[in-house]
């Protein structure tokens, strides 16, 4: 992917908190990343790691209250989306930044036809007339590989299978030629054979349309197959970030390393024993003043309990990690 090009999306020090009955939850803590044109950035993490909340914060999809995107900058196309007006956001959302959600059944409206839902963004954002929008909608359905597209516009979501519904969601997200597509676990609810179809489709569309994609998932296998760069999140923070091959070949953070080991493989050697990350993910009731992973970490130092590690570069490949431990020496990382 083009290196050195100006990022299409740049996030700096993003913070999101939620007010709950139990107190304030710090779901996203100083997350920074950038997305270059045409790049596919994989975001991995467990539920509660803040990956979805980060992306929802970007385009103001979180209800406020309880959510509060309380700090940082989200630079897109000359705007800071965090402070942008609701109107600007509405113009950008769905038009220049597309979104695909995890569950295609709940994110499509069951009482409207697929055609109506597909034409809605075209008419709202692109100002198309009905006939024009219908034609474009059929083209889009065809683009995502739905046979007999023109006729199927009249069908309701329940008349489509899971994989087909997710294709419809992708078509809606692509409707206005977005520069950035954010896909939140788009294949998690699908079967592997259908997932393979969708992954092929996305690879193909990316080449055709050249948009940048953020792909959120917990499946390292999916990431390995499609991502250019991977960002690992834990406890509302980015703990490691690297080009895909580099990350899988040379993982630095104990969490990434453990995660890679807990997943059994279908191909190659079978591991007789599953490695386990003991313990539970952290509950983020306060702003982090220590490493969020230290309770589950096999390599924690005294320092990990008093200081929150910041991201430091590893080598020259654009790899960085937020950890005091150096896996190569087995001791503390030199600053």
């Amino acid at each position: 992917m083009p290196d050195g090009a100006l990022p299409v999306l740049e996030v700096k020090g993003l913070k999101t908190t939620f007010k709950t009955r139990g107190g304030q939850v710090h779901a996203v803590n100083s997350v920074s990343f950038e997305l270059r044109p045409g790049e596919l950035l994989g975001v991995v993490g467990e539920s509660g790691s803040g990956k979805s909340v980060t992306m929802m914060s970007l385009i103001g999809l979180l209800p406020s209250p309880p959510a509060d995107v309380s700090g940082g900058q989200i630079l897109f196309d000359g705007h800071d989306l965090r402070t942008a007006s609701a109107e600007t956001l509405r113009e950008i959302r769905g038009a220049r930044i597309g979104f695909i959600f995890q569950d295609p059944m709940t994110s499509l409206n069951p009482v409207f036809t697929v055609g109506f839902q597909l034409m809605e963004p075209l008419r709202k954002h692109m100002g198309m007339k009905k006939g024009q929008a219908r034609k474009r909608a059929a083209e889009l359905l065809e683009l995502v590989g739905i046979p007999d597209a023109a006729r199927r516009l009249k069908d309701y979501p329940h008349q489509f299978s899971g994989g087909m519904r997710q294709r419809v969601m992708i078509a809606i997200a692509l409707a206005c030629d977005p520069k950035v597509l954010i896909a939140d676990e788009p294949t998690t609810a699908l079967d592997v054979t259908i997932q393979a179809q969708i992954l092929e489709l996305v690879k193909d569309l990316r080449e055709k349309l050249g948009m940048a994609i953020v792909w959120i998932t917990h499946d390292l296998g999916v990431i390995a197959g499609i991502a250019d760069r991977v960002m690992v999140m834990y406890g509302g923070q980015v703990v490691e970030q690297a080009p895909s091959r580099e990350l899988f070949a040379n993982p630095q953070h104990p969490y990434t390393r453990a995660l890679l080991k807990t997943v059994p493989k279908v191909h190659g050697e079978r591991d007789p024993k599953l490695n386990v990350i003991e313990g539970q993910p952290p509950i983020l009731m306060s702003e982090p003043s220590a490493c969020a992973f230290r309770d589950r970490c096999a390599h924690a130092f005294a320092r990990c309990a008093t200081e929150n590690p910041q991201r430091v570069p590893v080598g020259t490949t654009g790899h960085d990690v937020a950890c005091f431990w150096n896996p190569d020496t087995g001791s503390e990382r030199d600053a």
Binding site: S47, V192, A196, Q197, E200, T262, V266
Partner: protein, 348 residues
Amino acid sequence: MLDGDDHQDGGEVLVHHEVHRGRKLVEVRGLKMYFPITAGVLRRKVGDVKAVDNLSFDIYEGETLGLVGESGCGKSTTGRAVLRLYDVTDGMVKIDGQEIAKADAGIVRKMRPTMQMVFQDPQASLNPRMTVASIIREPLDEHTKLSKKEKLDRIYELMDAVGLNRRFANRYPHEFSGGQRQRIGIARALALNPKFIVCDEPIAALDVSIQAQVVNLLEELQDRLGLTYLFISHDLSMVRHIADRVAVMYLGQMAELAPRDALYEEPLHPYTEALLSAVPDPDPATETRRERIILRGDVPSPANPPKGCNFCTRCPKVMDVCKDVEPEFRQVRPGRFVACHLYGETTR
């Protein structure tokens, strides 16, 4: 041992030696589970959804049989039908020597303690208004005559066994994380000392790092208590880890059944092959090099399965005979069963 090495074509011996250890705990023959499709105000029956159509398999004592397939292929229905949670349309299910598919309710009830289930979604399968202790106590109330004290002791014992802190006995399910909730579900299933447990996607709702914890717990309990599992999952890599033998279902029927290593190393059925090739590998180096078989289209509706082999509409190796004649599910190599015309009379 010496003459054991000479059994090159003595398939039977090999079967009993390596693959099939011990006796059959579960025997399923010709299991059919049809759900009626009704239409109109009078709810006239107009057809059947053949969710499970003519399944036969055995599960040996102490083994884990993995059951894999895409959603809608009937794997959960199979799990439930085997435990007689449905009234099956036809077929025989024998558990621990007792026929239960057609047996009277009284007999089935007597068999309940022997056969238990762990459900997919621990959020939905635990009553939110009951405490952990009362959830685990319920089967004891139903099926045993223990005193209050004995029941409490048993509850604590079970909580220890699944790694839950006894102090939490009076808490409610919502106070636990997903992995812990699944432990409550497992403790409930273990309460009556079952021999056979159907695990219906027990880890599907859990995070990757928690999945390994629960799978290790299931394996440890199996070793300690000699349990037999039917492990239903769509996660082929986890099944490879936990199962001794693996059954692959497609559209209500069994496509292939084989010992684990044999199946993953050399899948015989084209569907199994495609399914395995569709699983992405967490390694970009091999992932980009690997040839993937992409199946076209979706699974056909079980209400209207295709004629002949039910996989013929998506099969990359389809032949003329497949569209006409339904292949028989049979043993083509020792311990390996497959329903495919590629392995016909001639190759046997």
